[in-house]
Symmetry: C2
Subunit: 316 residues, 2 copies
């Protein structure tokens, strides 16, 4: 490569976080002070952000996926000539991986296996399922849903993605065989899907999206996985459905209430899996941000479109 | 489609198994008696196979992946003008899915989560891992190994496949980024890999392939998954490594001895997962065979190369 070196500053910590520095170097840029930099990777809070940036700085990478605080603090507006990118999408892969793990563990009857203390092959045989040929409905086609689809495809699942518009979900690793329906038509899905993964934002419209009626229409073998927010599932109705065997099971990384109190029936139901909102633990968030930085610095060097550009007009 | 109908017979049961009949019809063929058939799907044993086939029969699909009994019974030799196919590869997907489930459950600390009866987020955070950016070594690149690779790729794992020749593993969904090494060089891998999936045949050469020395060289976070045969892992050495925390854990669908007796330490170790050789239960085997039939009837109709052709000279 004979192109001139591109300098990237990392702020505000000095020395910068090792993983982030390594990511910038791996991408092929030089780590410099802010005065020489064309790009700035910011790992601090909005309050610490410099009031003025040197004129050479063309691009700022922020450390958060949701950047409402940066808009509120006026930082985007104060630097109209600078391109800002967020970390949107960077943290979705770990949550999607967790959702896949929960769904597979449920479908393949792992909780009951882990309680066994002898070789119960004949008992377990009829309960070991597969995702091959099964329909998995993913409610919410944001970062998590779009990261989960490519993980389910090689398992031979038929995938229905649910978004607001019903416009076909596209993205890297998402084949055209994925069916997309609009949230308005979600009501039709319950009797037909084998499993449901909830990955939609918590809004008044999505509260108790999975309630008693929906649970009653699922199959006795259906698993529900929730990696979004607890409020999307009606917990009391879920406990009833799990206790009666109306559905196969539920695997929840988020609960309502959260934290789930000791003594709650979900802790003891044999067909419930609870993980305490740890699908994206701090050490993985850090590593994921570093990967995002490496990808974006590479794109910056190549003059390619940056990942997760912030649109000042749109507000995110 | 304006091509003439192709007739396929299903034997020896009458009526034929519903799933198999449906597969033939889905593929676009007609189900007929043997006298009108160009192809025969055989779901019975070698002893029941007809001594003579009508001259129109060009192709026979056998129901087993390993067809040594069919050679021994002289059936392949007796029909030199007929193409035979086995079910090799058809049953690998379920075992590969099981291996993926076991590996993810281990890496994401599911066994400990399932024992929790309260919200232990801070305790669990440091133990929740990911396959993203991690190296997974798959020992054995037969049907199971080749089915597992495309499932691991979208999770962002780096994959090392180990086969006898060291020639690059290829196949549908296997990218060129997969590293292949020969079994002779497996010794070098142990300190470098994050996790190991054992999917190689049981032979005198692979007995105790994972023993005390190999376990000692793995990382304290490494998981071993065995979906092949129990004899490939030295059980006593494994119990020592799991008890001392020398490795992260082990997830075993096969054990030595098998069945694993009640009271064996593997039933109680918190970092061991045992499933009683049920990664490919009968009902999934049946469905997988039907899928294989559908794919092969389609290929037969299209004049395409059939899956799992039997070579009379090679003996499988």
């Amino acid at each position: 490569m004979n192109r001139p070196a591109v300098s990237i500053a990392i702020g505000p910590t000095d020395p910068p976080p090792t993983l982030v520095e390594k990511a910038v170097l791996e991408a092929g840029a030089v780590v410099s002070g802010l005065d020489e930099a064309q790009g700035l990777i910011w790992v601090g809070d909005p309050e610490e952000f410099p009031d003025e940036l040197p004129a050479r700085v063309e691009w700022v990478q922020l450390p958060a996926a949701g950047v409402e605080d940066w808009f509120t603090a006026g930082i985007i507006a104060r630097h109209p000539g600078v391109r800002f990118t967020s970390a949107a999408g960077a943290f979705a892969a770990s949550v999607a991986e967790h959702a896949l793990m929960l769904l597979l563990a449920g479908v393949r009857y792992l909780p009951e296996h882990l309680r066994a203390t002898d070789w119960r092959q004949q008992d377990f045989f009829p309960h070991v399922g597969t995702l091959r040929g099964k329909t998995v409905t993913i409610v919410g086609a944001g970062g998590i849903g779009r990261a989960l689809i490519p993980m389910l495809v090689p398992l031979g699942a038929h995938i229905i993605a649910v978004n607001r518009s019903g416009r076909p979900v596209t993205g890297p690793g998402i084949p055209s065989s994925v069916e997309t329906i609009s949230a308005d038509h979600l009501g039709r899905i319950w009797p037909h899907t084998d499993h449901v993964v909830v990955a939609a934002p918590a809004t008044p419209a999505t509260r108790h999206l999975v309630g008693a009626d929906e649970l009653a229409r699922l199959k006795p073998s259906s698993w529900i996985v929730n990696v979004a927010r607890g409020s999307l599932v009606d917990t009391d109705a879920l406990v009833v459905a799990l206790s009666s065997g109306a559905i196969g099971g539920a695997a929840l990384d988020v609960t309502d209430p959260e934290p789930l109190p000791a003594g709650h029936p979900l802790w003891k139901l044999p067909n419930a899996i609870v993980t305490p909102h740890d699908s994206n633990p701090p050490q993985l968030r850090f590593a994921a941000f570093a990967d995002h930085v490496e990808a974006n610095v590479k794109r910056f060097l190549d003059g390619a479109e940056l990942l997760a550009p912030i649109d000042p007009a749109r507000g995110y």
